[in-house]
């Protein structure tokens, strides 16, 4: 094989590889991006059904309730305008508290209860999850 052909072959391989990688990335983006919605958006039915997404807001004071099994927890996440009931079936993170900010990830059930697969905790007491802050700010702007 002459050098010119070889170079062409190498370039063709590189292009094919990049195209493959790009296709992989795009497919993975399409299937796996998790969008974020505020409780107001969820209440207005603007959140997707059957797809994983995130909600940020405050854990409504007095809303946390436990099933008899001790592990299943119900609470409401609110942006002070609307709230979304949430069900979660694992041990809660340390910094989960009523009246504090939280972000939950999961799917919206048929009955309007959000089935959380993850409750995101932060590492720092003074740190508000940006998504939770965003939800509160958005709701406040809407009300004003």
């Amino acid at each position: 094989m002459n050098p010119r052909k070889k170079r062409l072959l190498l370039i063709a391989c590189a292009v094919a590889l990049l195209a493959g990688a790009l296709a992989l990335v795009l497919a993975a983006f399409r299937d796996n991006i998790v969008f974020f919605h505020t409780p107001t958006e969820v209440a207005e039915g603007r959140a997707p059904q059957g797809r994983t997404f995130r909600i940020g807001g405050m854990v409504e004071a007095g809303s946390v309730r436990r099933d008899a099994d001790g592990v299943t927890v119900y609470f409401a996440i609110t942006d002070m305008a609307h709230k979304v009931p949430v069900r979660y079936q694992r041990a809660l993170p340390d910094l989960f508290k009523e009246g504090k900010g939280a972000v939950v990830q999961g799917k919206l059930g048929e009955d309007g209860v959000f089935l959380a697969s993850e409750v995101l905790a932060k590492h720092d007491e003074n740190y508000m999850p940006p998504e939770a802050q965003h939800a509160l700010d958005a709701a406040r702007t809407l009300q004003e």
Partner: protein, 650 residues
């Protein structure tokens, strides 16, 4: 006084760095020996200043001087001494000082161990390092001064974030920073070579040990960080594809590519431009990592409260470094010259493919990490890219690397024949299939999903090829160089690592349940009994401990271990913390942590079974050991100045 002294030392260090950068670089350009000679003493001077600054800050922490803003925010009089000392880098300002200090340490190391290199080259390297540190010191002084006073002084401090009060966090940041910053040396070598317009085998040989050491630190830092997440976050996860983790993983991936590319440049003189680009890329990603972690732009399980305005400064620094280095590259790349020719089937090609794939995988991780930031910055909504994306993209891109990486050492440089290669490889393939079958049988065929079998096959493939390679090398005549052993260990370590990852991912089991004292639970064939609970007081926290007995059978005949997990409430921040208890074994970990205390003697308990997770750390340790062995190779110690013929270009 101490604080002011430290502050002053920091200012002097900044000035020294500026002087070092200007004199050394200008001196090298004009071949002015006197100016170049300043580089070494200046390196020592900035190192001295930064050590002094470091000691001053540490003293303030040890003394619990609450007139220091930093101490008041990140320490308290109740904090144990060890965490007062490590609290110095448990915060934004202090960790940046650590960054600067370790850069200074690397600079001094270069000044020490480069006596045999040409003066102009050393001056350029030290000049570039000085310029980088000047940037960081300016960042420290202007946006994140660790020596600010608090007036009036606080009576008591806020304590160190409890998550950081842990032995893993004592060593994780310094290791990681040594790795990040270590790539600045490879970067400085590349830039110095560009400025001098000389690229030869000698340059690659000088650069290799530094890159290896940086890679070693980064590997260790990532492994320790992952181990910390595993036992400290309380739910047995060890990697979350979190932006901050990716921030350390990307320079690691590109650094790995750089190590291999340097090998080709040294042995064959090829891939020069590519090697330089990788050096620039690896260091830029280190800076990007610092930016991501320190600016607070990412939502992350690791995101501690931090200040976005500072991000702008690091971003500026990042742009300056990338911009300047790429400009120099563009101006000088023409003078690099091509390398030796090589056939399609050659070790050169296999390393090229490995490099390209590693770079593409790095880009895919980078894309996933930055995409949410871009979308948010453009005001197009908030979203997150989680582990499913990274697994879907990263695994298919990296699997071919792992298949190819063990073929490479069998192939000859420059050119080889398929027939010769196949004669060796059929045995490897056979070995891999048999080994994978045995492994799958050990796990129980029913538990092995196709993906898991793929993982087993990969691990078996690498292990089988490693065995064959070792056999061949031992039979061949000649002394085996340390560099070869390093390569072998690191590759074999990856097999161990992949096996660990595969088994823990497919065989891990978890159970969260409510347990009353005396109640029992079962997971993965083990029986767990909550024996009792007991409150106790630590130095700066109050806690509950629970004793949980783990039996090998449900008759409670054979006791495996008594685990004592804790739930702590740290006083200063009223912050709850989970301390997991783990029975560590070669074949599996049994992991217990406490959730919420529901009422007297009743807890939500998390039970986890993690098969072969120790192999994961062992694999990392082997990779690190490989790098260490390779650094000790004799040829790096015989770093003679190049002969006049090759040095003429400088």
């Amino acid at each position: 006084m101490t604080l002011e002294l430290g502050h002053f030392a920091l200012i002097v260090a900044l000035l020294v760095c500026c002087v070092q950068a200007v004199l050394a670089l200008v001196g090298a350009q004009r071949a002015h020996a006197g100016m170049m000679a300043t580089a070494r003493p200046a390196s020592w001077a900035q190192f001295g200043c930064l050590v002094l600054a470091w000691c001053c800050l540490t003293w303030a922490f040890v003394q619990s001087d609450f007139s220091s803003l930093l101490v008041a925010q990140h320490s308290s009089s109740q904090t144990p001494l060890i965490y007062r000392i490590t609290g110095v880098w448990g915060n934004h300002e202090g960790s940046l000082l650590l960054w600067s200090l370790s850069l200074s340490g690397w600079t001094v190391a270069v000044a020490l161990f480069s006596r045999r290199l040409p003066q102009a080259f050393t001056a350029r390297v030290l000049g570039v390092l000085g310029a980088i540190n000047a940037g960081f010191l300016a960042f420290l002084l202007f946006t994140s001064n660790p020596f600010l006073r608090l007036l009036p002084p606080a009576l008591e401090g806020h304590d160190l974030n409890p998550l950081l009060q842990d032995p893993g966090m004592i060593i994780h940041p310094p290791l990681l920073y040594m790795g990040y910053v270590g790539f600045s040396v490879a970067f400085a070598f590349a830039l110095a070579a560009l400025l001098a317009g000389r690229f030869d085998a000698a340059w690659a040989r000088w650069s290799r040990p530094w890159t290896l050491v940086a890679w070693l630190f980064l590997t260790a830092g990532i492994a320790v960080g992952s181990g910390w997440a595993y036992y400290e976050l309380g739910w047995g996860g060890w990697w979350f594809w979190d932006p901050v983790e990716n921030a350390s993983f990307m320079p690691w991936l590109l650094g790995t590519a750089l190590l291999h590319s340097l090998a080709v440049t040294e042995k064959r003189g090829a891939f020069r431009s590519w090697t330089v680009l990788l050096a620039i890329g690896a260091f830029s990603l280190s800076l990007l990592g610092t930016f991501l972690v320190r600016s607070g732009v990412v939502t992350s399980v690791h995101a501690f409260a931090s200040d976005p305005s500072r991000g702008l400064f690091i971003l500026g620094l990042l742009v300056a470094v990338i911009g300047v280095s790429l400009t120099v590259f563009a101006l000088r790349a023409g003078s690099l010259g091509g390398g030796g020719r090589f056939a399609l089937l050659s070790r050169d090609t296999s390393l090229l493919i490995n490099n390209v794939l590693l770079a593409v995988a790095t880009s895919a991780v980078l894309l996933g990490t930055l995409y949410p930031l871009f979308i948010d910055a453009l005001g197009m909504g908030k979203l997150s890219v989680g582990p499913p994306y990274f697994e879907a993209v990263f695994v298919p891109l990296i699997a071919p690397v792992m298949v190819l990486m063990v073929i490479g050492p069998f192939v000859r440089w420059k050119s080889d024949t398929a027939r010769r290669l196949l004669r060796t490889l059929w045995l490897v393939v056979l070995g891999a299939l048999v080994l994978a079958g045995v492994l799958a049988a050990c796990m129980g065929m029913d538990n092995v999903s196709p993906a898991a079998f793929g993982g087993l096959l990969l691990a078996a493939w690498i292990a089988s090829a490693s065995a064959q390679l070792l056999w061949q090398r031992l039979r061949a005549p000649g002394r085996i160089a340390a560099g070869w052993w390093g390569m072998w260990l690191a590759h074999f370590g990856l097999a161990v690592f992949i096996l660990g990852v595969t088994v823990v991912k497919s065989g891990g089991q978890d159970l969260d349940m409510r347990m009353r004292v005396g109640q029992q639970a079962e997971l993965a064939g083990y029986t767990f009994v909550l024996l009792d609970e007991k409150p106790y007081r630590g130095p700066n926290y109050t806690a509950f401990t629970a004793r949980i007995a783990v039996y090998l059978d449900d008759q409670r005949q054979h006791l495996l271990a008594e685990l004592v997990p804790e739930k702590r409430i740290y006083h200063a921040r009223q912050m709850p913390m989970t301390e997991a208890a783990i029975d560590i074994g070669i074949l599996r970990d049994v992991y217990v942590s406490l959730g919420e205390r529901l009422e007297d003697g009743e807890w939500v308990v998390s039970l986890h079974y993690r098969p072969l997770i120790s192999w994961l750390w062992a694999g990392c340790a082997l990779m690190g050991l490989g790098a260490l062995v390779a650094v000790l190779d004799r040829r790096y110690r015989r770093q003679r100045s190049p002969s006049p013929q090759t040095g003429a270009a400088a």
